[in-house]
C-alpha cells in the first residue's frame, strides 16, 4: 500500500496536497484498490463552493459507486478533465495523473482536521485489525 509522505489524508481515504492556498486532491491507493477498476468519475463544477467533508464527487467502479468528500473547503478552481476519457488514471497513478480536483482553500486551519501520512498509515493498520 503506497502512501505519499507529503500529503494529508481523510478518514474517507481522500488525499490532499496543499501549496500556498491551492489544494490538489484525489483518492488514496487504499481507496482505488478497494474500488477496483474505475469506470466513471462524476466531476464537480468548476467555480463550485464546497465545505470541508462535503460530498462533491462520485467515483464509479465495476463494484460500486462511492462518494468522495472535499478534504478542504473552498472554491473548485480546476477539475481533471482527463478522467472523463480515462477514468483508469485513478487506478494507474492515484497520487499523480489521477488527481481529481483543485480547490482554492478558504481556511487553512481546516487542515488540522486531516491526518499526516504517518497518522494515515496507523489509521489503515487500525482498519485491518
Amino acid at each position: 500500500m503506497e502512501i505519499e509522505d507529503n500529503y494529508l489524508y481523510t478518514k474517507e481515504h481522500e488525499w490532499v496536497s496543499i501549496e500556498d492556498n491551492m489544494a490538489t486532491m484525489g483518492i488514496s491507493d487504499y481507496a482505488q484498490e478497494a474500488l477496483g477498476d474505475v469506470t466513471y468519475v462524476e466531476l464537480p463544477q468548476e467555480e463550485e463552493e464546497v465545505e470541508q467533508f462535503e460530498q462533491f464527487v462520485s467515483v464509479e467502479s465495476v463494484k460500486a459507486a462511492s462518494d468522495i468528500y472535499a478534504p478542504m473547503g473552498g472554491k473548485v478552481t480546476e477539475v481533471n478533465r482527463k478522467l472523463e476519457e480515462t477514468p483508469a488514471l485513478i487506478n494507474k497513478d492515484c497520487y499523480g495523473k489521477g488527481w481529481i480536483a483543485k480547490i482554492e482553500v478558504r481556511d487553512m486551519d481546516e487542515s488540522t482536521n486531516l491526518m499526516s501520512a504517518e497518522e494515515y498509515r496507523s489509521y489503515l493498520e487500525s482498519l485491518e485489525t
Binding site: 469506470t39 466513471y40 462524476e42 462520485s58 464509479e60 467502479s61 465495476v62 463494484k63 460500486a64 459507486a65 462518494d67
Partner: protein, 445 residues
C-alpha cells in the same frame, strides 16, 4: 402459531421492549380504528369448483361488450395475436428481472431490442428497460431532474394527466418541493403563465403531448425558454401518436416518459402497464431503472448484460438513483414484440388511421344539435366535446346503448361537467362511429 409469521411470542416481546412499546396494539396506535381490520375471522375455504363458479359469476357482472370510445391515457388498440403467443412462451414467461446473463440471453436481448425501439420512437439516445407505468415513470423523471439541477421547483402543465399529477404529489407529499401548475387555455399550454413562472429556482417543466384534452402542441419554444434558465424539460408522450407527430427529441426534451400500454398491452383494470423513460446519453448515469447493454463475451461473440448497475440500490444503497430497480420485463417484452411486428411503416399507418377515424367522428358529432366539438387546437385520436347536459349522465345513458362514450372531464376538472373526452382508435369501424353518433343524438334528444 401462524405458519407464515415465524416470530415467537418471546421474540415479539423482545422487539417491543427494545423499541419501548408496551404491546402490539400500542405499536399500531397511529392507525385509525376505521382503517384497521374489524376481524381476522376469515370464512372457511371453498372447493376449486366453488371458487371457479363464484369468480365466474362475479366476472359476468363486467360489461365487456361495450364499444369503447374512452381513452384518457389508456387506449383500445389492436394487439396482434403473435404478441401473446410469443410473450407467453416458457422461455420468456417470467416477470422477474434477469440477473444472470449466462442463462437469460433471450430475455436480455428482447429488453435490449425494446430499448432500441423506444429510442427510435422517441428520438432519444438511451432508454431504460422500463418502469411500472406512465405515472411512476413521470415521477422518476421529475426526481431525476431535481437531483440533476439541485433545484426544488417544479412547473407542471395543466394538460398533464390529472392521474399523473396526483401520483407526483402523493409521492412527494412529505418532501419540500414547490409545485406550480399552469393552466390550459383553448386546449394548449399557457406560454404566458409558464414564462412568468420559469426562473432560476425551476428544476423542471413537465409537459404532455397530446395533452389530457387530446390537443397536440409543439413545445419547442417552451423547452428553449426552460433551458435558458437552466431548467430541464420532461415530455410525457403517447407512443402511438409518434407515428405521425414531431418527436419529443425534436422539441428538445431532456427526459421523455410515457405509458406504454398502447404498445401491445390489453386494457386491464389499471395494469400491469408499462412505463417508459428515455433521455440523452450524457444523462444515462442519472437515469433510474435497469439498462440492458450489449457487449462481447469471452469468445468475442455478441451478448447482453444488465449494465451501469453501480447506480442502483442493491449497490449504491441510499445514494441510488431510485428506490426502484425492478421493471416490468414481461410488459416491455410485449411492447418489443408489438413494435417489431407492426414496424416503422405500420406504426405510421396505424397513427394515420387513428387520426382519420377521430376526424371522421368529429365531423359526425359536430352535426348533432347541442354538441360542440372543440377545435381550438389540433388533435390526434382524442378530442373534447361540449354537451348541453352533464357528461356523466350522457355516459350512463350511452352505456345502456352499448357504448363507453368517453371520459367525463368533470371528474377531474371542476367546472368541466359538460365536457366529454372522446377517443377513437384504429379499431373503431365506420359503422361503429356512425352508430355511436346516432346513439348520442338519441340520448341528447
Amino acid at each position: 402459531m401462524n405458519p407464515y409469521i415465524t416470530n415467537t411470542p418471546q421474540e415479539v416481546g423482545q422487539m417491543l421492549e427494545s423499541i419501548g412499546v408496551e404491546n402490539i396494539d400500542a405499536l399500531f396506535a397511529d392507525i385509525k380504528p376505521k382503517h384497521s381490520p374489524q376481524s381476522f375471522d376469515l370464512p372457511a375455504g371453498l372447493s376449486e369448483y366453488e371458487v371457479v363458479r363464484r369468480v365466474t359469476q362475479l366476472a359476468l357482472k363486467n360489461n365487456v361488450h361495450v364499444v369503447p370510445f374512452i381513452g384518457g391515457g389508456y387506449y383500445d388498440h389492436y394487439i396482434p395475436t403473435v404478441v401473446g403467443a410469443l410473450a407467453s412462451r416458457g422461455e420468456f414467461y417470467t416477470a422477474y428481472t434477469p440477473y444472470q446473463p449466462e442463462c437469460a440471453q433471450g430475455t436480455l436481448q428482447a429488453l435490449f431490442e425494446y430499448q432500441s425501439a423506444m429510442c427510435a420512437l422517441t428520438g432519444m439516445a438511451v432508454s431504460n428497460a422500463s418502469l411500472y407505468d406512465g405515472g411512476t415513470a413521470l415521477y422518476e423523471a421529475m426526481m431525476m431532474a431535481i437531483r440533476m439541477t439541485g433545484r426544488h421547483k417544479v412547473i407542471m402543465d395543466g394538460g398533464v394527466s390529472p392521474i399523473y399529477r396526483k401520483i407526483l404529489k402523493t409521492y412527494t407529499h412529505h418532501l419540500s418541493y414547490q409545485f406550480a401548475e399552469t393552466p390550459v387555455v383553448h386546449g394548449q399550454s399557457s406560454r404566458e403563465e409558464i414564462d412568468r413562472l420559469l426562473d432560476r429556482d425551476t428544476a423542471v417543466i413537465i409537459l404532455q403531448n397530446p395533452n389530457f384534452f387530446g390537443s397536440i402542441d409543439d413545445f419547442t419554444d417552451i423547452i428553449k425558454k426552460a433551458h435558458s434558465v437552466g431548467a430541464l424539460a420532461i415530455v410525457s408522450v403517447y407512443p402511438i401518436s409518434l407515428g405521425l407527430l414531431k418527436t419529443p427529441a425534436q422539441m428538445g426534451a431532456d427526459i421523455v416518459t410515457g405509458e406504454g400500454q398502447s404498445l401491445g398491452l390489453p386494457l386491464n383494470f389499471g395494469g400491469p402497464y408499462l412505463g417508459f423513460m428515455c433521455t440523452h446519453k450524457k444523462y444515462v448515469r442519472k437515469m433510474p431503472g435497469r439498462i440492458v447493454g450489449q457487449t462481447l463475451d469471452a469468445k468475442g461473440e455478441r451478448c447482453f448484460v444488465n449494465t451501469l448497475q453501480a447506480r442502483e440500490q442493491h449497490i449504491r444503497r441510499d445514494k441510488a438513483t431510485s428506490n426502484i430497480c425492478t421493471n416490468v420485463s414481461l410488459c416491455a417484452l410485449q411492447a418489443a414484440i408489438f413494435m417489431a411486428v407492426v414496424g416503422k411503416n405500420g406504426l405510421k399507418e396505424m397513427a394515420q388511421l387513428n387520426l382519420d377515424k377521430a376526424e371522421f367522428a368529429k365531423q359526425l358529432l359536430s352535426k348533432i344539435k347541442g354538441v360542440e366539438v372543440k377545435r381550438s387546437a389540433p388533435t390526434f385520436n382524442e378530442f373534447t366535446v361540449h354537451l348541453p347536459v352533464d357528461a356523466s349522465h350522457v355516459v350512463a345513458a350511452m352505456m345502456s346503448r352499448g357504448f363507453a362514450a368517453g371520459f367525463p372531464l368533470g371528474r377531474y376538472y371542476p367546472g368541466m361537467e359538460r365536457y366529454l373526452l372522446v377517443a377513437v382508435t384504429e379499431k373503431r369501424t365506420k359503422e361503429e362511429i356512425e352508430r355511436y353518433a346516432k346513439a348520442l343524438q338519441e340520448v341528447l334528444n
